[in-house]
């Protein structure tokens, strides 16, 4: 039952009950690993519930810098009796199960092929703290202390983090430090340590930061000059709004007057949230909303209005598991197609597809420029994994020389110089007309925005040919968008073979790891990361340059593959799917496995059977 020592390469999973304060201590653990210079990638797997249900916190630690999930769990810290049986089963052979032995473990639970490590966590807490609710809180710190000792996590680093966290409540620091020591000391006194899987200080994190995507998105909006946010609470997008509020209160309150250089409205629903942000954008401010799941469906009517009335609009969609209310606390990329063509009638929208919190920041700032330039709805398509988990990511940067690009807006003087102003006249041939902000000019440039058919002057028409001309112009504008949006990223100097993988957003980590493994196996594969829709010619060229494209995405219906067919006219038989839609971020393993299957028996039409992560998932083969 012993194996060779593994350094900075493990998956630790905490199994807790939600509402017991565990996720903050588990996050301290992740941060401490990061502070040791070791790349780390935590995933908070929480229920759609406030208290009492199982919740997990999974931490991938990888000296090589792999930030995707990995399936085999090395260490499971199992605090939750409800899920314990499953938790124990989920540990890899020879792995470690750490539990609270304040109450004895039932014999049935014992697995011979793993290490079962009992620590009297609750007992220690009861012995040292009086108030029951504090006993519970500190138990969470106690197990961190114990684990730290077991895997060589630097306790001083953990303590420093706690001190920083409670900087403004210093009286909380000593009891927390004490709890850490309680756990650490108990291990030192009672167990062999460190384990075979363990940590070592490293410098593999560079100048990277740890941040969640929703915080980065909220901050990006502040940097982009957004002044109006209207929103309605929904997981997992709520924290975009919360973060915008936090940052705005920090950086946008007039120091002299104490007045706010921003306005945030919690709307009565998502329809109103969209309407408000759209109204503000229409009136020349920068405004946005953020939503998820059902919120997108509810906004469909308004999305069509913004599209056809050509109002700039930024809409953050932090995707969760669908369909319907679905898995609200799990991740998916299943709103691609519904967002690309949201609303009835013929519509097409711009989607930005960030893969890291840094890109959330950058793309959010870009989104406002693009919305203003293109006078249309720009979606930032994030997801729960990206938005709510903290990620090791490039530091944020801002070029102070950068100027907000407000697109084609005429001021009074410019308007005076225009002969025959028409809101939708395509004078530049790019499909984009000139806006005038209300209040600009006493006698020129006013128009009545509308969702009904209009001519190039914005005047109501029932002339179908004029209408068709206007919606043709919208296609022209969409073509303009192709070159303005973030272009794809490539990972090879030049194309190396006939096969390639295509991915976007949060499948990136696992895709990069899979590529690395393939490369190590002497089978390097070309790769392209999509960063926006519509797709530019570069995307088409890359696909044309390969015989087979494996599109990796986290939805059932291969939505990105559909978009590639529809918009670029790619032959479907050339586009093969690697899918995952069990709500958990995809693993490199799952990618490699499906790739393997494809190479053997793929019919080109329907995705292959194995569409979820994990070897232990005995999903029965479905007859697609």
């Amino acid at each position: 039952m012993s194996e060779k020592i593994r350094i900075n390469d493990m998956v630790v999973r905490f199994a807790n009950v939600n509402g017991t304060g565990s996720s903050s201590s588990n996050e301290i653990f992740s941060k401490a690993v990061f502070r040791m210079g070791i790349p780390v990638s935590p995933k908070n797997i929480f229920p759609s519930n406030i208290q009492g249900l199982p919740t997990w916190y999974e931490v991938r630690i990888s000296g090589k810098g792999y930030l995707g999930r990995r399936d085999d769990i090395d260490i499971l810290v199992g605090i939750n009796p409800q899920s314990m049986e499953k938790d124990i089963a989920s540990v890899r052979s020879n792995g470690y199960f750490i539990y609270d032995n304040t109450r004895q473990l039932h014999d049935d639970m014992i697995r011979e092929d793993i290490h079962m490590i009992g620590i009297p966590m609750m007992q220690l807490s009861i012995d040292h703290y009086e108030v029951p609710r504090l006993q519970q809180l500190f138990k969470n710190i106690i197990y961190i202390g114990a684990l730290a000792t077991l895997i060589n996590l630097d306790l001083d680093v953990v303590k420093a983090i706690i001190s920083e966290q409670f900087e403004k409540k210093p009286k909380l620091i000593p009891p927390n430090h004490k709890a850490l020591d309680l756990g650490a000391n108990w291990v030192k006194e009672n167990l062999n340590y460190p384990l075979d899987v363990r940590l070592e200080h490293s410098n593999a994190t560079g100048d990277k930061i740890m941040m969640d995507g929703n915080a980065a998105t909220g901050l990006g909006a502040v940097y982009a000059g957004a002044t109006v946010l209207s929103w309605y609470p929904i997981t997992p997008s709520t924290s975009v709004a919360k973060n915008f509020e936090t940052f705005a209160k920090k950086y946008r309150v007039d120091p002299e007057t104490g007045q706010n250089n921003f306005a945030i409205i919690q709307a009565e629903d998502e329809l109103a949230a969209f309407g408000m942000a759209m109204g503000a954008n229409w009136n020349g401010a920068r405004a946005f909303t953020a939503t998820s799941g059902a919120g997108i469906s509810l906004m469909n009517e308004f999305i069509g209005l913004a599209y056809f009335a050509e109002v700039p609009m930024v809409l953050v969609n932090v995707q969760r598991g669908g369909p319907s209310t679905g898995m609200p606390t799990r991740t998916q990329q299943s709103d691609l197609l519904p967002c690309a063509y949201a609303s009835h009638g013929d519509t097409k929208h711009v989607l930005l597809l960030p893969a890291t919190p840094t890109e959330c920041f950058d793309f959010m700032a870009d989104a406002f420029d693009l919305a203003d330039q293109l006078q249309t709805v720009v979606f930032l398509l994030s997801d729960l994994d990206l938005g709510m988990n903290i990620h090791m990511t490039e530091p944020l940067s801002w070029d102070d020389a950068r100027k907000f690009n407000k697109g084609k807006v005429l001021n009074k003087e410019e308007l005076d110089a225009v002969e025959d102003y028409g809101r939708f006249k395509d004078v530049d041939g790019d499909g984009i007309g000139y806006r005038v902000i209300p209040g600009t000019h006493p006698s020129k440039g006013a128009f009545l925005s509308r969702g009904t058919s209009h001519d190039p002057y914005g005047v109501y028409t029932e002339d179908g040919v004029v209408h068709a001309g206007e919606i043709d112009r919208l296609i022209r504008k969409f073509n303009t968008a192709k070159e303005l949006v973030p272009q794809p990223e490539f990972y090879q100097k030049e194309n190396q073979g006939k096969h390639a993988i295509v991915f976007f957003g949060t499948t990136t980590y696992a895709a990069l790891e899979a590529m690395d493994i393939l490369e190590q196996n002497g089978e390097p594969i070309d790769a392209m990361r999509l960063r926006a829709f519509p797709f530019s010619n570069i995307v088409k060229d890359f696909i044309d340059a390969h015989d087979t494209i494996y599109v990796i995405e986290q939805n059932r219906d291969a939505q990105c593959r559909s978009l590639l067919m529809i918009e670029l006219g790619i032959d479907p038989t050339k586009l093969k799917s690697i899918l995952n839609y069990d709500g958990m971020p995809i693993t490199a393993d799952a990618i490699l496995k499906q790739l393997q299957q494809h190479l053997h028996d793929y019919d080109g039409l329907q995705p292959p059977d194995h569409r979820q992560n994990g070897s232990s998932h005995s999903l029965k083969t479905t007859l697609l």
Partner: protein, 350 residues
Amino acid sequence: MSYIKPTFRHPSSTKNEAGFYRADYEGKISTLCAGCGHDSINASIVAACYEMNIEPHKVVKLSGIGCSSKAPAYYLDNSHGFNTVHGRMPSVATGANMANKDLTYLGVSGDGDSASIGIGQFVHVSRRNLNMVYIMMNNGCYGLTKGQDSATADVGSLSKSGSTNQFSPIDMVGLALELGATFVARSFSGDKTQLVPLIKAAMSHPGFAFIDVISPCVTFNNNKGSTKSYDFVRDHIEATSEFDFVPVKEEIAVEYAAGSQKTVTLHDGSHIQLSKLNPDWDPTDRSSALDKLQKAKTAGEILTGLLYIDPESDDLHSMLRTTDTPLNELSQDVLCPGSKILEEVNAGLR
């Protein structure tokens, strides 16, 4: 046949204090039915803006969808406007107002637009006390979709499709009062003497100002008529089951003194009973307003006038403490924290 209908162009060509002619407040030629109450309201809006010396381009016109919501095309051609989607005008108005607190926001809506699909936004915009004028052109029916009952239609009224409405009407004035709206009034489309001052007062009110304006639909109003020739037409319509004939009618104008009552005969011969608040009515007492309203209802009267105003009204901007400069005018310097701050942020995340 609106193309032969006289426009509102007033003979007077006097400039107002802001330097504008009345014509500067007018809009495109109306395409509403001849005699439609909504057009009378449009005329009052023009008059009010002219008399208020508002610069036309400092007004933002908003609406939802319906005959009533087409109205913004027919006044204030030099104002920007947004003809939004059905029932969602308030949210767009809210956002627009947030972007620029210095303009005047004038929303119009129908009773279908406000009391059915839009009731949620109505409730919440009034709760937020958004600084806007909200005129509901109330004809008790869905004009544009050909005469279905709206939620403000009276019990037992017979819509043109022949079915009797069974549901008690929503009194939007009562609702606004219950919701804590800070300016609540009612009027009649043809009563310009009352309506124009009400609109002016609403525009001066620093908060949400709601005016329910009874505005007869000449085409689909909900009561059986009585005049001979009209019957003939109705027979014709019933036989062909096509509502495609709309006889040209005249605007209904009324005038009556404060404190008095007035019976108004609608185009089809039916009657409504208007009752104007006394000149000495104290409009700052919400519960007497509710009470008075209740009593008028029981008496079968439609109470008109300024029922309630909160003189201390705090609008949404003051609740949110937004800066005095319109948000859409703030410069990048003020808005963007810049790279140095970002370095600090990064540092805090390591």
